[in-house]
């Protein structure tokens, strides 16, 4: 009996853990990301972006020391994300919530940001509505409609009359489908068919054949990053769809660095739209990529840049408030902020607190030994179109 | 005492080309003590399985008293008073005998699906279960887990479980199988002492036991009834000698 009680108490003591004293001179940032599971790589790359920014710019801002507390959310788990956000706020006394690779997690945590009046920076999750869930929230990544409406419009203007859309059957995929179709048809194109692919079952061959049967001029593809881009690239090639006779369009994931590596020459000619690629040709980006490679032994991707620019925003906002970490002050400081990122010029829309940036149109081309995304056109100053249409 | 307690007519069952029961018709009068004998593979256990509903006959009918039970589920037959035991112990290893028999009593009383009242509240059922166990001389071990019981005690528990259903007809599949002869005799004494309201059919290989405890004997061979008669008639029957007694007893 006594023994059992001791056990219980011991356990609770373990639960309580070391509670670090709250130093006035510290700004704490709680970073919630998937470090394990299927989205682990996203979490790791994003976090490396955060780390690189802090390596380059030190951990002191406006006289305050920056401390980052990392939490693993393990995948799509909004209830865990919300709990972690709650705990970061009430237990660890963080001043800022950051990270958020996945939309459901960001949405759930945004409620905590709103309730606790904490500044929150979404560094990846790309569904349009996220920023509306908390008035203290800003985003430094991208939104799906931002890319795909710009792209749909561009594809129609480029002279393509008919497309078939093939997207993953989940939130971002449906967003991409809707945005692309909307803009493409508004600009005079015709969508001759569409198919939605289950997220979990990655043999694409049958879906690709359906697309081919519809005989469109072009195919628009959206699949999540990870194992699927390469798989769909190979399925396209094996079903005899090559950029030579059918134009292949997609959001940038399908020609991510590892997808291109495993697709090889099959990928040449695929046209994609995205806001960042490590091949982006600017001195600032070359420097960024070199530093990233030196620190982590690989190239940065969109997640890395989201984390990097997210920290940039946090640092700059803190400078502006003179180290005051109040949610309202920080978001006011962030609104309208403009800067040059390795991805190019970007800013935070003062009205929606969402990211405004350039969407690049790239074609996969042989560059030396390898295939890489080469930018050949761009659409500048793109805002998230969904929120522009929302009634104010 | 007019209608027989249990009657089958024209029971037939085959698995593919293998015929395991062919035109089996038996009739057990109320309160009778029948033995069912036959060489291995004669279809004795199959017959019990057919009567209790573990197997469905291809054709034929089974009547319990006046009622046709051919289409009923096994548990419904039990509820109507038809109980059995198994040749190989088929018990609940982790339950104590008291729990197991109490459960069987609760099933009979129709209260075993009650989940909002505690078992201890059913005092009559518990008392009845304990009495059954005590009457079979296993009251002293009825709080242990069944798996810890001696083999002979487990055989008795088989019978106790069947008795808890208050059967009108009791089918015993080699109740003393594997039990030393001495204990087997005791076991059959217990069976002989059952209320005369209960009609008993038992499968047994030991002819001494059969002739001592059965009022009549049914002989099966190859899925058919060979002959039925009193102990002395069977003992004298030439055909039975040929197919059965001529061979080694447990062959």
């Amino acid at each position: 009996m006594l023994r059992a009680m001791t056990l219980c108490l011991g356990f609770l003591a373990l639960l309580a853990g070391p509670t670090s004293g709250q130093a006035q001179q510290t700004i704490k940032i709680g970073v919630i990301l998937p470090f394990s599971g299927q989205f682990a790589d996203t979490g790791v790359q994003l976090d490396d972006g955060i780390k690189l920014y802090m390596q380059q710019h030190g951990d002191m801002v406006a006289g305050k020391k920056i401390e980052v507390i990392r939490k693993d959310v393990g995948g799509i788990a909004p209830e865990v994300a919300k709990r972690l956000a709650q705990e970061l706020v009430v237990r660890d006394n963080v001043d800022i919530l950051a990270g958020f690779a996945l939309t459901p997690n960001a949405l759930a945590a945004a409620e905590v940001s709103a309730q606790a009046k904490k500044f929150m920076v979404v560094m990846n999750a790309a569904t349009s509505i996220i920023t509306t869930k908390s008035p203290y929230l800003a985003r430094t990544s991208v939104t799906v409609p931002q890319i795909d409406e710009a792209f749909g419009n561009w594809v129609a203007k480029s002279g393509v009359k008919t497309v078939y859309t093939l997207v993953s059957d989940y939130g971002p995929g449906l967003d991409a489908e809707a945005s692309f179709q909307r803009a493409f048809e508004a600009a005079g194109g015709k969508v001759v068919g569409s198919v939605r692919v289950p997220v979990a079952n990655p043999d694409f061959s049958a879906f690709v054949q359906r697309a081919k049967d519809a005989n469109p001029e072009g195919i628009f593809i959206f699949v999540p990053g990870g194992t699927q881009p390469a798989a769909i690239g190979k399925a396209l090639a094996s079903r005899g769809i090559t950029p030579k006779d059918t134009k292949i369009f997609g959001q940038g994931e399908i020609t991510s660095e590892d997808a291109l590596k495993s697709m090889g020459d099959d990928a040449v000619g695929i046209v994609t739209a995205f806001h960042y690629d490590y091949n982006h040709n600017s001195p600032m980006n070359r420097e960024f990529v070199a530093a990233y490679n030196k620190a982590f032994g690989r190239n940065p991707d969109i997640y890395s840049i989201g984390g990097y620019d997210g920290m940039r925003l946090i640092y700059a906002a803190l400078e502006k408030t003179g180290g005051k970490a109040d949610g309202q002050d920080l978001i006011d400081a962030a609104k309208g902020m403009t800067w040059e990122s390795p991805r190019g010029p970007m800013s935070i829309d003062p009205e929606t607190r969402d990211v405004v940036q350039t969407v690049y149109i790239r074609r996969a081309e042989k560059v030396g030994e390898h295939v890489a995304n080469v930018e050949f056109d761009k659409v500048e100053n793109v805002k998230d179109p969904v929120k522009s249409r929302m009634p104010k | 005492m007019t209608a027989p307690a249990l009657r089958t007519t024209g029971l037939h069952k085959s698995f593919g080309s293998l015929v395991v029961a062919q035109d089996v018709a038996i009739s057990l009068p109320q309160g009778a003590r029948y033995a069912l004998i036959g060489p291995n593979g004669a279809g004795k256990t199959t017959l019990i399985n057919l009567i209790t509903g573990a197997l469905r006959p291809d054709s034929g009918e089974i009547l319990l008293g006046e009622e046709a039970i051919t289409a009923l589920e096994p548990d419904s037959r039990v509820k109507r008073g038809l109980a059995r035991t198994f040749q190989i112990n088929t018990l609940f290893p982790d339950l104590s005998p008291l729990e197991a028999v109490t459960l069987a009593v609760c099933e009979r009383l129709g209260v075993a699906n009650v989940w909002w009242r505690r078992l201890v509240g059913f005092r009559d059922a518990v008392d009845e279960a304990y009495d059954i166990l005590a009457s079979l001389n296993i009251g002293a071990v009825c709080y242990r887990a069944t798996r810890e019981l001696a083999y002979g005690q487990q055989r008795l528990l088989e019978i106790a479980l069947a008795l808890a259903t208050k059967p009108k007809v009791l089918l015993l599949d080699e109740p003393a199988a594997g039990v030393p002869r001495q204990q087997g005799g005791e076991l059959f004494e217990a069976i002989a002492n059952l209320s005369s309201d209960i009609t008993v059919l038992f499968i047994e290989h030991d002819m001494e036991v059969v002739f001592r405890f059965a009022s009549r004997v049914i002989v099966m061979v190859g899925g058919r009834l060979l002959v039925e008669g009193t102990s002395s008639e069977i003992a004298a029957d030439q055909r039975v000698r040929e197919v059965y007694l001529g061979r080694s007893r447990h062959g």
């Binding site: 799509i76 709650q86 759930a108 | 039990v78």
Partner: protein, 327 residues
């Protein structure tokens, strides 16, 4: 109990409240004072414990292994979430409706589930879970699909307790529901019905021979377990005011089995203890090492199997005097 008691005393002793049980429930109140900043975690532990108790009823007591139990959890969560979203934010009635919806689905699927055993049972429950997941994913107009269900707004509990940031209300509410669920489950496992479930687990072949319709029994417990799982799900939806597809996922079903087996099956409190140990370990480990914590979880699972083959409660039962065994 040295001598042989009479049968009533023997049975009564089996279901009497042990002091350690009382101590356990008192200890569950300690987080309010000892670790008030951990209440959000504590309430999710309580919810997982409810879910685990519900699985224990079918797995530990009746012997049905399910790899799709999240279907009922998720259904309860979505039902409660949708009711609140539609404008009825009263928590308690939402909880009951969520449980009822899951119970109804459990009753219907029960007809299929009780027909099969072993690997087929595992795979069919898994299949039901995955199918429901896909349905929820497809019905994004209703469920919000992958983005999760937005706009779940709860009214204060009993009209006066708001769901606060610190999680006081959430934990008190979850703990109270857990207590009620364990009380009900406790009553159930010590009832004649509970006894018949254990008998089915021990030897289903014997059941018809004592006049027991075992499939009907299994359907009943499957319905009850689904209802409790649904209540757990509803509680999660209400306390986090969010529902996502994760509530229905295969991972949640699989993790639940791990939790229950760690704690010990067929022991009523196994799921509760498993939930506490697993989730606290996970929280601590992933806090210390966000990227590789599951390495340590893996080691822990192997350690449990090798050194505590009957789960933590099974291990404790051999250490402590026999009173601590719940059944």
């Amino acid at each position: 109990m040295a001598g042989v008691a009479d049968p009533h005393q023997y049975l009564a002793a089996k279901q009497r409240w042990a002091p350690i049980e009382v101590a356990f429930w008192l200890a569950m109140l300690l987080p309010f004072v000892l670790v008030p900043t951990y209440l959000p975690l504590a309430s999710q532990i309580a919810i997982t414990a409810i879910f685990a108790v519900s699985l224990d009823l079918i797995l530990g007591y009746a012997g049905l292994v399910s790899l799709g139990h999240a279907a009922y959890f998720g259904l309860g969560a979505y039902t409660a979430g949708l009711i609140a979203k539609a404008g009825w934010g009263e928590p308690f009635s939402g909880l009951l409706i969520g449980g009822a919806a899951a119970g109804l689905f459990g009753h219907l699927t029960g007809y299929i589930v009780v027909r099969v055993r072993h690997l087929a049972l595992i795979m069919i429950t898994l299949g039901i879970g995955l199918l429901l997941y896909e349905v929820a994913n497809r019905a994004s107009w209703l469920t919000g699909g992958n983005d999760g269900l937005q706009g779940v707004a709860m009214w204060p509990l009993f009209g006066s307790f708001d769901f606060d940031l610190y999680g006081y209300t959430a934990y008190a509410y979850s703990l109270a529901v857990l207590f009620a669920v364990v009380l009900a489950a406790r009553r159930l496992v010590h009832s004649p019905f509970g006894l018949s479930l254990r008998a089915i687990r021990e030897n289903e072949r014997r059941m018809p021979a004592i006049g027991a319709p075992s499939r009907a029994r299994l359907r009943t417990i499957y319905t009850i377990a689904a209802t409790i799982a649904g209540i757990g799900g509803a509680l999660l939806a209400q306390t986090t005011q969010f529902v996502s597809l994760g509530a229905l996922s295969f991972e949640r079903s699989a993790e639940l089995i791990v939790i229950l087996v760690i704690g010990g099956t067929g022991r009523l409190y196994g799921g509760v203890v498993g939930a506490i140990v697993y989730m606290v370990a996970r929280d601590r480990l992933s806090g210390m090492n966000p990227q590789y914590w599951y390495f340590w979880i893996g080691l822990m699972l192997i350690g449990v199997v090798l050194f505590l083959p009957n789960g933590i409660l099974g291990g404790l039962a051999t250490l402590l005097p026999r009173r601590s065994r719940a059944s």
